[in-house]
């Protein structure tokens, strides 16, 4: 309504805040998974993923290295020097420290603690410590220190490397990734060809029974594919296809056809009649009209359906479980692999999050790249 003169909405900032909240709410879950997939197992169980976005403050107990082996004599004093972070494989920026568990933040970084009788201890921000005293003081066990350090957010791509190269069959997503790809591409391309011809006939050819056929397609749009599972599985086993890629391609083709025909027909009907009639007058056959005129002009509709079918087959679990995945487990797809991981690796979020994100990444990329066509398809596909 902003374009209407004199009605500049006073609710502008409220609307903006509402949308920010709404968007945050919708992005937040996915973002959590994405962040988790870049954290190590210890980090994930150690703190919520939202904490990993900020520098974390942690208090650790360290011990200076063994004085009897490492002490150096300087004048009449003995000194032990070292770096806590290097010795303990840690990192961070030390804020405060202490020598007793009762006062862990007694000193700031760089302060020198007087431990009595000339014995001193100091730690700087980088973790370098200096412990000095006389022969008796610098002996026995190393001096304890409680160090509160701030470490910057830390992320790793290790999970992705692990999951794509793991030798463990149940964890490895690489094979499932290629299986999914193998299912998806033919299952996206074949229905387009079949549907395009049928849609042309339903849109531009005149024959008795056309209206009924269109009504049938609209009806089949909503038939739950659950009904098709047993009869088709029996059929596939009966004709010797069994469970395998061929079966799942055929099934996806069959299930995708109603939407494909419906979308393409709706689009083709809207093409200008003149072009087609001119071509007919010029002596083009229906086959020529279809391949030379209709098909190139229908590209947006073809792209819309291709995205739908791609997302649907990539994300599908049920059809793959019924028609593809056999007991050997060699043909498992990613969705099925993730469900299995949920069962066997329910608590290993670094594996689960990474596996899920590997499977989500491709559809998301397609979504953002081709969103225009997806929206167009949605608008054409919902029965008005």
């Amino acid at each position: 309504m902003d374009n209407i003169a004199g009605s500049k909405s006073s609710l502008g900032w409220v609307v903006n805040i509402c949308v920010v909240l709404l968007v945050a709410l919708w992005v937040f879950p996915t973002f959590g998974l994405l962040v988790s997939s870049f954290r190590t197992a210890d980090q994930i169980v150690g703190s919520g993923w939202w904490a990993s976005m900020f520098p974390s403050e942690q208090t650790e107990r360290y011990r200076a290295s063994d004085p009897d082996e490492n002490r150096i004599q300087r004048g009449d004093m003995f000194v032990v020097e070292g770096n806590f972070f290097e010795e303990n494989n840690a990192s961070g920026d030390i804020q405060s420290w202490g020598t007793s568990s009762r006062a862990v933040d007694a000193y700031q970084a760089g302060d020198v603690a007087d431990l009595g009788d000339g014995e001193t201890f100091s730690i700087d921000a980088e973790g370098n410590y200096v412990w000095s005293g006389n022969d008796e003081q610098i002996s026995g066990r190393g001096q304890r220190a409680f160090v509160t350090a701030v470490s910057p957010p830390e992320f790793t791509t290790e999970n992705y490397v692990n999951i794509m190269t793991s030798g463990n069959d149940t964890d490895n997503m690489a094979k499932a990734f290629f299986n999914t790809l193998t299912v998806t591409i033919p299952a996206t391309i074949i229905p387009i060809v079949v549907a395009a011809f049928a849609a042309y006939a339903l849109a531009w050819m005149d024959f008795p029974g056309r209206a009924i056929l269109i009504a049938c397609v609209v009806g089949l749009l909503v038939v739950p594919l659950q009904l098709a599972l047993i009869p088709l599985l029996k059929l596939h086993v009966g004709v010797g296809i069994g469970k395998g890629y061929l079966g799942v391609w055929l099934a996806h083709t069959g299930f995708g056809l109603p939407l494909a025909i419906y979308l393409l027909r709706n689009y083709m009907v809207g093409l200008p009649r003149d072009i087609i009639e001119n071509a007919k007058v010029d002596g083009a056959t229906d086959f020529q009209i279809f391949t030379k005129i209709i098909l190139p002009l229908s590209f947006p509709a073809l792209a819309s359906f291709a995205i739908f079918q791609f997302l649907w087959t990539w994300n599908d679990l049920l059809v793959a479980k019924v028609f593809l995945i056999d007991s050997t487990g060699q043909t498992t797809v990613m969705t099925d692999q993730i469900v299995n991981l949920l069962g066997t690796r329910g608590g290993n979020w670094e594996i689960l999050a990474t596996a899920a994100f590997v499977s989500i990444a491709v559809p998301l990329a397609v979504f953002f790249a081709m969103q225009k066509y997806l929206v167009r398809g949605l608008l054409a596909g919902s029965v008005k």
Partner: protein, 411 residues
């Protein structure tokens, strides 16, 4: 053969085969059966043109018939047979067995809950998002972010939300957002506001909306009594009115429950194992996915509203809420219904979410998962088919309505 190679061969064979079929059969028709030459050229062309549509349609009709139409009837037949008896006809035995199982009623009850909540919530959020994003500069970015979950698989969404619902023992730090938030409530004023006052308001609002919808349906009957005229669809109106009354009663009793319930503050909850409420947590996943769909379609519809109607309302002094509810919503009612029914169909088929997140345990069973259980775990094809037929029966009103509308539009 390597599956990737097999895939490539299949693409080539499938696409090539299709093209070859279409080209070859057209050639065959034009050159051999009805050649457009010789004494009967004209008649032959006409005949060829009568046959040609069926050449174009044949592969599609064949596939549709085999993969969608035939299974409907075959499943219906299977639901009357028993696999253990070699497929003998057993009448309604499978249905009797199914109706006797508490799991079936649990699934049916949950499915009805899903049917009420998910389409309503998705459409409402979608409408809200569409209306709000249409009015701001960065609206298209906001839209595409809310739309994004559409691309995520149900299984992936299941994992995403399992992380949110994750529970860890009380002495460890919580990694699930829901529990982390939950542990901040301690029974103080904040807890009262968010856990009792807000839900109570929502329940009241829900009750009021339902009561209003019920009244819209009942009012014509009451008026027709006074005027002596007739109101159409009386049984439907009474049914909706009765259902509304029941829902109002439910929301009022829940209202009491909200204030009397003893919240277990300070204890991390394993959310997905709390019966009844866990179903709602699963529904959140589907609402999260479907809102984007509703938003995209409704936003297109909102843009299609003629400016004049809105301008006239502003001139007459309507406030933004009146403009939205009294001018805009009535004009896009048709689209709202379409969105609602489309999501309803998705809900009826929902399988992956429940399968991945709870597998129907802790009273979250739904029909589609119940059916899968029967088919592939219990290997009971009879009862599984019967459950599939129940899903089909629930879908069929929408099917009929869609076909009716499509035919009306074509005329």
């Amino acid at each position: 053969m390597n599956p990737a190679l097999l895939g490539l061969v299949t693409i080539l064979a499938g696409v090539g085969g299709c093209l070859l079929y279409f080209w070859g059969s057209n050639q065959f028709l034009d050159k051999v059966i009805f050649p457009a030459t010789g004494p009967q050229a004209g008649r032959n062309i006409n005949r060829a043109n009568m046959v040609r549509p069926w050449l174009f349609l044949f592969p599609a009709i064949f596939a549709l018939g085999l993969y969608l139409a035939y299974p409907v009837f075959e499943t219906l037949r299977l639901s009357f047979t028993d696999r253990d008896q070699g497929g003998a006809f057993v009448g309604l035995a499978n249905y009797n067995q199914m109706v006797a199982e508490p799991k079936f009623w649990e699934a049916l009850r949950n499915n009805l809950l899903w049917l009420i909540v998910v389409p309503a919530a998705s459409t409402a959020f979608g409408l809200l998002a569409a209306q709000l994003t249409d009015r701001i500069k960065w609206g298209s970015i906001a839209k595409s972010l809310i739309f994004m979950p559409m691309a995520i698989s149900f299984v992936g969404a299941g994992v995403i939300f399992k992380l949110i619902y994750e529970a860890r023992p009380a002495d460890q730090s919580q990694i699930g957002v829901l529990n982390a938030v939950w542990l901040n409530f301690d029974g103080g004023i904040g807890s009262f506001l968010f856990l009792q006052a807000v839900p109570a308001l929502m329940l009241l609002a829900f009750g009021a909306i339902v009561a209003y919808v019920g009244w819209i349906f009942i009012r014509p009957i009451a008026e027709s009594r006074q005027n002596g005229g007739g109101a159409g669809f009386v049984p439907l109106r009474l049914f909706v009115g009765g259902a509304a009354l029941y829902l109002v009663y439910l929301s009022l009793t829940s209202l009491v429950g909200v204030f009397t319930f003893d919240y277990p503050y300070g204890e991390p909850q394993t959310w997905l194992t709390i019966p009844f409420w866990n179903s709602f947590l699963l529904m959140v996943v589907l609402i999260w996915i479907q809102t984007g769909f509703a938003m995209v379609i409704l936003s297109a519809a909102l843009r299609g509203i003629p400016e004049e109607t809105v301008e006239a309302a502003i001139v007459d002094g309507a406030n933004p809420f009146q403009i939205f509810f009294k001018i805009k919503v009535p004009q896009i009612m048709g689209t709202i219904v379409v969105v609602w029914t489309t999501i309803t169909i998705t809900v009826l088929k929902v399988f992956d979410i429940v399968f991945a997140m709870t597998n129907g345990q802790w009273e979250t069973q739904v029909l589609a998962n119940y059916m899968f259980d029967k088919l592939f775990r219990a290997n009971d094809w009879g009862v599984g088919s019967a459950a599939a037929i129940v899903i089909m029966i629930m879908v069929s009103p929408i099917l009929v309505w869609n076909v009716y509308n499509a035919r009306k539009e074509m005329k």
